[in-house]
Subunit: 451 residues, 2 copies
């Protein structure tokens, strides 16, 4: 490890901080203190946190440092502070789900994913801001790259806090574009795993066939570090099957067995992509193809994909109507107009339409499988453009809907920049359940670009 100043240990990657802690160069209390210094400095302008408790966090850090001195095995996230989206239950902090309707809500038990983080030695630093019920109506968070722009949503605070180096790792969720979009807008790495590979037990239920827990970090290795901790089977999540953990960290740095090939997918919503994003991605692809001939091909999704966004809408809105029925009944007036309208549209979706839309998932999957038979991964924009100006909306999730609906793993790689200097993400999508190879393939792409 290079020398570093413990006072700014918040700037370290999670992997480097973990190494420094293991070797005794840094202790968790110093790291947590550095994170709070940064938070003190920036929280007023960024507002990434819904709940923070310095004493609680320092007590966890102290316990972690004591444990390390015992000489017992320490976990992969030992002593590292983590931010948790405020729709994920924590026994030590309130979980208010971005709405006054759940103000003061204090879970008695941790979500399974929080237990996994604690087992791995993580410090739960606090809860990060979510949009209202993890849907569209924004929270208080601002984009660290420009406070007049949205950070994206719904995992707004998780993306912004990592972007602002308040923490190195955080957890969010995605039911449409809620991990990849804020990652793109905030210029950080974001990972939405294959569907049902991180437990949703103890996480606000929006739409069970779509809800997916994801993670944020400032580099790919860190993303793998936290993903490996969280991607564990949990019998309490009825969507999960007992599949072996993907061991992403191990696979990530393996030699690829052959040159990798990418399908550049424009998708049926290509007309919504801004020219700046199109140009940036085109340049990037050209740069890759210059270095390695024929690495990236243009591939069009077959015609039926034109219906996917509408299928997704039916499923998500019908599920919102069902799962948020209680909030709608007792507090309709407290809900944002956008959510109220979604719920009301959802109430009108017939069971037949809902089931038809769900059934089409398999058809879409089959099409994608054909692409993945030929290509290692898909390249596509993570968002139509950079974070829009204004804090009254969180931008469009339109580039994320396909990959959420199909349950394929996706990584946001912060590779592009707008003329204004705002980040724009490139989305790399892999075959379902092949999360580890998606990481390896993404690393290979980054190696090419850095060549």
């Amino acid at each position: 490890m290079d020398k570093f100043d413990p006072a700014v240990a918040n700037l370290l990657s999670a992997s480097d901080a973990r190494k420094a802690i293991e070797s005794g160069l840094l202790d968790s209390q110093e790291l947590v203190a550095a994170c709070f210094t940064r938070i003190d400095e920036l929280e007023d302008s960024i507002a990434a946190w819904a709940h923070l408790d310095r004493d609680q966090a320092m007590a966890q850090a102290r316990a972690a440092d004591e444990f390390r001195r015992s000489g017992l095995q320490i976990g992969p996230l030992h002593g590292l502070p983590i931010g948790i989206k405020d729709i994920i239950d924590t026994a030590d902090y309130p979980t208010e789900r971005g709405t006054v309707l759940h103000q003061g809500r204090q879970p008695t038990r941790d979500a399974t994913l929080v237990s996994l983080l604690k087992e791995a030695g993580a410090i739960i630093l606090g809860k990060t801001v979510s949009t209202e019920m993890a849907v569209y109506s924004p929270g208080k968070t601002r984009n660290p790259h420009n406070p007049e722009h949205t950070p994206g949503g719904s995992s707004s605070g998780s993306a912004a806090a990592v972007s602002a180096a308040m923490i190195a790792l955080s957890v969010g969720t995605q039911t449409n574009g809620s991990v990849i979009r804020p990652a793109s807008y905030c210029g950080v790495y974001g990972f939405k795993p294959s569907f049902a590979r991180i437990s949703c037990h103890g996480v606000l239920q929006q739409s069970p066939p779509l809800d997916t827990v994801g993670v944020f970090a400032r580099n790919l290795e860190d993303l793998a570090l936290i993903a490996d901790v969280l991607m564990r089977f949990d019998g309490q999540d009825p969507a999960m099957a007992p599949i072996a953990p993907p061991c992403i960290g191990k696979v990530l740095n393996q030699q690829v067995p052959a040159e990798q090939h990418f399908a550049f997918v424009r998708s049926p919503v290509w007309e919504q992509v801004e020219q700046e994003t199109k140009d940036g991605l085109r340049e990037l692809i050209d740069a890759v193809n210059e270095r390695r001939q024929k690495t990236v091909d243009i591939v069009d999704l077959p015609a039926p994909f034109a219906e996917l966004h509408e299928d997704h809408r039916k499923v998500m809105e019908a599920d919102l109507a069902r799962n948020f029925a209680d909030e709608y009944e007792r507090g309709k007036a407290e809900l944002s107009e956008v959510l109220r309208e979604m719920i009301e549209r959802g109430q009108q979706v017939s069971a037949g339409d809902y089931d038809n839309a769900l059934a089409k998932m398999l058809d879409y999957d089959a099409f994608l499988e054909e692409i993945f038979d030929e290509y290692d991964a898909i390249l596509t924009p993570a968002t139509p453009g950079p974070a829009p100006v204004g804090l009254d909306a969180t931008g469009s999730p339109v580039m994320n809907t396909i990959w959420t609906f199909c349950g394929t793993p996706a990584i946001n790689v912060p590779l592009l920049q707008s003329a204004e200097g705002l980040p724009i993400g490139v989305q790399v999508v892999g075959a379902k359940n092949d999360d580890a190879r998606l990481f390896r393939c993404t690393r290979w792409l980054l190696d090419i670009l850095n060549d």
Copy 2:
């Protein structure tokens, strides 16, 4: 790997079978078929199984083989058949707890530990015989070394099935001596981890401050393999704390930092140990000390330990009275006399006596910590002697009570033999929560003996 005959793949260690499966030399269906051939041959005389379902097991094996061909990461127990004690809930098999009072009981959900085994790729072959409610009254199982002798209890079937090479790995539980004792009698390796390091969620509750899940195998490496899968934090078990997994398999083969030292502890119940066991252990210690001078010292436990067995009895029996109140109320006549008497004695234990006994755990722990400051591990007999003749009792747990009450990890190492040719185990005990070092230290001892 050496060449082997798939028809007798049941004779392979779990570690070797796993390697053979990974490299494609063996498939899980062949392995499971070999196990069933062995079971067909021996089950009539050994009676290790409470529930077996060949079709169900073969279907799991088929799925495992298909999954392996997908090229995705496979788990550490991929394709390996496991036996589960019949007090541990399984959604795929009844869980009858060794009593007619729970005849036909079919859990709807797996215990957490079963979920962990499935995630690791294990085949749940069936449920193994437990004594009545995991206490003393024997089930139908016989000792594979001599069917006229008890296999020990309460994890009778789990120990016998591994001993008879019907399976390579199994799971049991210990509240007094129920893992280490049957391991000693059946001549297999048994491991009772530190208290609260394997989830008891979904396991019959006898005495929450004592109940400990343990494992059986035919060598130390296999024991580590399954222990690493199971030793995971589970927020559903209120006794557990989020401690990092011990990574036993990694530590097991590490060089020891210095010559290891053992305390030979005779314990306050030494007069109950048979002469044959005393002589055998004495010889073994002499052999070790001959090879490495001063490796083993005789250490006596301080006087207060004379009360520990009585403290354990109070806690366990009071808890049995409470936790088995329903069985006692509705089916007293169906309970064995021995269990009925324990429950009735337990009903008489006052809250004050119970709390006093529990409070003394800390005092005992403090004494043991002093020993572990000086010694790497404790050596002591696993049972007073070999398996007693007769099937109406399961032998004495008296050599296991201290280590259960103190929550220290213990391994049965099948090193001794009676004149009749029955196995007698040596118990190696480590410092609490230092399970990985206990394994490494035990391996070092075996290396010395094999020198």
